[in-house]
């Protein structure tokens, strides 16, 4: 017998096997990413004798932040034992100017390529995009030679320039597409109002690009913070970034491997990108969507 129910209100949504499968998949995927994070956090809070017991998933019996303190201020990176804090401040020194300069240059080129009739804009843009797909490693040796002959190798300016250059294709693409989605009449109106190249950029276009600026900051902060090879090659021994220092801590331990310190150092290094994502996830999605609708 089929019960004839008068359709009214919201349509019933029965729990089908397909839907159960979907939820199961999502749950397992979430676990897949969360379990390693959980293991790292609990291990960093354990003492070495407790770790040796081998209960990887167990909660620490007596949580202590000793390993964190050690990782920050007294773990050995090679011969010196000042902890990963040195690397943290080096990374900040590299990060701040690199993010600012790369976004400034990228947004300006993106603006120029989208609004102004640059004679060979198509070719320029094509070249930029093609080069973006060439692996880093191919550029490294020539760039080392160029910087050496310019006398700025192994220095802060060198690594800032490097990050600006390697950020240029992505930043240009990001801003070009965003500006291309804005109505051209805005640009025309500003020209009738007498504003020039930089005035239009600064007063009209850049204030409108806030979502893209935030996306660019997120991309560049995480990218530059996570960089290893460029920092290792170009920053010089004085300015080695946190990722390089982390590697030194994890790999240069003598005797027993201090898992809790390694975990704490790794978490400390991952903290900056994590904070950036949590603080700006909403903007990130919005910015990507804004760029994706058009252009």
């Amino acid at each position: 017998m089929v019960a004839m129910v008068e359709p009214t209100g919201p349509r019933p949504r029965p729990l089908t096997p397909a839907r159960i499968g979907l939820y199961a998949f999502l749950f397992i995927s979430a676990l897949f990413f969360l379990v390693p994070l959980y293991v790292m956090i609990v291990t960093s809070l354990k003492t070495m004798p407790e770790i040796r017991l081998g209960n990887l998933l167990a909660l620490p019996s007596a949580p202590s932040i000793e390993a964190w303190v050690k990782a920050w201020s007294s773990a050995c990176t090679g011969l010196t034992c000042n902890g990963i804090s040195v690397g943290f401040f080096n990374s900040v020194k590299i990060l701040v100017p690199s993010v600012i300069v790369s976004i400034a240059v990228g947004s300006l080129t993106g603006y120029a390529l989208s609004f102004w009739r640059v004679p060979v804009a198509g070719i320029l843009f094509g070249a930029l995009m093609t080069v973006a797909f060439v692996p880093y490693q191919i550029f490294i040796y020539p760039l080392v030679r160029i910087f050496a002959s310019a006398g700025i190798s192994n220095s802060l300016p060198a690594i800032v320039i490097i990050h600006t250059i390697f950020g240029l294709p992505t930043m240009t693409l990001l801003f070009r597409n965003y500006f291309a989605s804005l109505p051209i009449e805005l640009f025309k109106a500003a020209r009738v109002d007498g504003a020039g190249f930089f005035r239009i950029f600064w007063s009209v276009m850049l204030p409108m690009a806030t979502p893209m600026l935030i996306v660019a900051v997120i991309l560049q902060v995480t990218g530059i913070w996570n960089d290893f090879i460029l920092g290792l090659v170009f920053a010089g021994r004085e300015n080695l970034p946190m990722t390089v220092q982390l590697n030194n801590i994890v790999n240069s331990t003598q005797g027993e491997r201090t898992y809790n310190v390694d975990m704490a150092a790794t978490l400390l290094t991952a903290l900056v990108p994590l904070v950036v994502y949590f603080a700006s996830g909403r903007w990130f999605v919005r910015g990507i969507a804004a760029g994706a609708v058009k252009g």
Partner: protein, 381 residues
């Protein structure tokens, strides 16, 4: 060079709009994008204080022409003159023009006040002068209470008022409008149309207005330039364009409801010239033919409001079959067929009801009809 620049900019900034020449001349202008030719050898002379409307379907080149006059688009050949100066190579800001766009093009992150004053601030005008001009323009457009809002907080009509205000503060001799009302609903469009007309009467500035809306063209213009396929088809007063269109395109594009076209033959008999529609013979004695004595195949064009019907139809009336009636409030559009089967519409007063199947006596008075050559683009005979 720099002296000329200073003079040009001070000229653009001088306050009284009436004391400078601001006629516009487009001389043999050609524009093409790559191989695609948009304008070919186009010339147009616009007198000072004239309100000229460029009217045409999309893609006819009217906006391109406006962009060329404004300097936003470089010409491939020819010259643009504004106020007796050759401005072909000059930047938009040095041409003494102001422009209003279809999408308003307000700077979204600036307040209304900042939007209106942006151009003046770029030009480095003293703050008190900027203040005064913005206040004046805002009063004129009744947007004073909106000055501190952001464009996103305004309705479409308010946005376009602000955009007009931004053009107004430039105190230019020539105002360019690029379909300014096309994004608005019908009621606001009518309201702002009146506003723009009032503004023109008040400022006596030269205005060039692009639209595809023939009502806007007829109501606003001193002269209309009807464009099609990159060419100005007819440049004349609204009256003349409405009554004596030079070809079938102009005849069908201007006027609503559209003009009726009926193919037939021009013949000459004992009683003078007639137009034969099948068995029907319509007297056209006195029609001002361009080449007298012409006979042969032709198309008769008459506007629905010019067809005489009922008691007014007079002695030359014939009976038409009513097919359909479209009541439009003040009047009714009646669709009829001639005895030979040609379809046409008549505008009648809404008084007596007319039903499909009725017969309606109608006549086509010679004073208001037009005759064209055969073909969709036939010229006026």
């Amino acid at each position: 060079m720099s002296a000329a620049m200073t003079q040009a900019s001070s000229q653009a900034m001088s306050h009284a709009a009436t004391d400078k020449r601001c006629d516009v001349s487009v001389k043999d202008v050609e524009i093409s994008f790559g191989r695609h030719v948009v304008l070919e050898k186009l010339s147009l002379d616009i007198a000072q204080s004239e309100f000229i409307v460029l009217l045409g379907p999309s893609g006819c080149g009217k906006s391109t022409l406006l962009n060329a006059i404004s300097g936003l688009l470089d010409v491939n050949a020819g010259q643009i003159w504004i106020g007796g100066r050759n401005v072909t190579w000059e930047e938009p800001k040095d041409r003494g023009i102001a422009m209003v766009f279809q999408s308003y093009a307000l700077y979204p992150r600036m307040s209304v006040r900042e939007n209106m004053s942006f151009g003046l601030r770029v030009a480095g005008m003293p703050a008190n002068e900027i203040q005064k001009r913005v206040a004046d323009a805002a009063t004129m457009l009744k947007i004073t209470e909106l000055l501190d809002r952001k464009p996103s907080q305004l309705s479409g009509g308010q946005r376009q008022r602000v955009a007009i205000g931004r053009a107004l503060v430039r105190d230019a001799g020539v105002y360019l409008f690029d379909e300014p009302l096309s994004n608005l609903d019908a009621q606001l469009r009518a309201e702002l149309r009146v506003e723009i007309k009032r503004l023109h009467q008040r400022l006596r500035a030269t205005m060039i207005y692009v639209t595809h809306d023939q009502i806007e063209a007829l109501t606003l213009a001193d002269r209309i330039a009807v464009m099609k396929d990159r060419v100005i088809q007819q440049l004349d007063t609204p009256q003349k364009i409405y009554r004596e269109p030079v070809n079938r395109f102009v005849a069908s594009f201007v006027g609503s409801p559209a003009m009726n076209f009926m193919p037939g033959r021009v013949e000459r008999g004992a009683t003078g010239a007639t137009f034969s529609l099948g068995d029907l013979s319509i007297p056209i004695q006195g029609y001002p033919f361009k080449s007298p004595g012409l006979t042969g195949a032709a198309v008769l064009g008459i506007r629905p409001e010019h067809v005489l019907s009922g008691a007014e139809a007079g002695p030359n009336a014939f009976n038409a079959q009513v097919e359909m009636a479209e009541p439009m409030g003040a009047d009714t559009l009646v669709w009829c067929r001639t005895p030979s089967g040609a379809s046409f519409s008549v505008r009648v007063d809404s008084g007596p009801s007319i039903a499909p199947g009725d017969t309606l006596p109608v006549s086509f008075p010679v004073g208001t009809l037009s005759l064209f050559e055969e073909g969709p683009d036939g010229r006026r005979l």
